[in-house]
């Protein structure tokens, strides 16, 4: 099995005292909006990419990540967005591995 290096996404929390949690949105090649796929990650300030189902685990793409804070009524803050290259596909394993006399 290949080893995939996951990435950590972190943020400074909202200053609003009534925050119940955060949504993480993700889109490939464009900024997300409130209709984009999202994951409720709870009241945390960091997640790893393999914990966010809406981040596509594909090869060599620019993923735009959006974060919003929400309250108990699921009202959401404005979205903060960052784009970054992701590559979740490991190269093919070497083949024909053999041992020869030196």
């Amino acid at each position: 099995m290949a080893k995939i290096i996951r990435k950590k996404i972190s943020w400074t929390p909202s200053t609003s005292p009534d925050v119940e949690g955060y949504f993480v949105y993700a889109e490939i090649g464009k900024d997300p909006d409130y209709n984009s796929p999202k994951t409720d990650v709870g009241n945390v300030t960091q997640v790893y990419t393999d914990e966010v189902s809406t981040i596509p685990q594909t090869e060599d793409v620019i993923v735009h990540i959006g974060i919003t804070a929400y309250d108990e009524m699921r009202n959401e803050s404005t979205m903060v967005v960052i784009a970054a290259p992701f590559d979740f596909v490991a190269p093919d394993a070497p083949t024909d591995v053999k041992v020869e006399d030196a």
């Binding site: 972190s10 005292p17 925050v19 974060i67 919003t68 309250d71 959401e76």
Partner: protein
């Protein structure tokens, strides 16, 4: 009858006029983050010795608190997310109260020294721009 002449919020607030409200109701929305405070003030009323202030949350229709003060301003804190109309009335020593003056009523509310209705919009502050590492 006691009557409030003007009713306004602190000029230090960020002023945002949304197209929808401006077109439908000609209301001004003042945007604040939840957790921030906002000071509402009004002109003093002759013979008034006290004032009552309350807010009406538009989304739920609920009245959020009634506070009494002898001042001509009141600072709201701890508001949850949503739109709020603010109301104030004046009272005298005999226990008589005026009718409520409501911030969305341009007959009693002002914006930039002009008669105009307004309301407050408290919304959740966003987190910082995320960092990926």
């Amino acid at each position: 009858m006691l009557r409030l002449k003007t009713f306004l919020v602190s000029a230090a607030l960020l002023l945002i006029v949304t197209a929808a409200y401006a077109e439908q109701f000609d209301l001004v929305e003042y945007w604040k983050y939840t957790g921030e405070s906002v000071t509402v003030s009004w002109d003093p009323v002759d013979r008034a010795t006290k004032y009552e202030v309350k807010s009406h949350r538009v989304e739920s229709g609920n009245v959020v608190g009634i506070w009494e003060t002898t001042e001509t301003e009141y600072t709201f804190t701890g508001m949850k997310g949503g739109h709020y109309d603010m109301m104030v009335r004046a009272g005298d020593d005999s226990g008589t109260w005026s009718t409520w003056s409501v911030s969305i009523d341009p007959a009693v509310a002002i914006v930039d020294n002009e008669p105009r209705g307004w309301r407050l919009y408290f919304h959740i502050a966003p987190p910082s721009i995320p960092v990926i590492e």
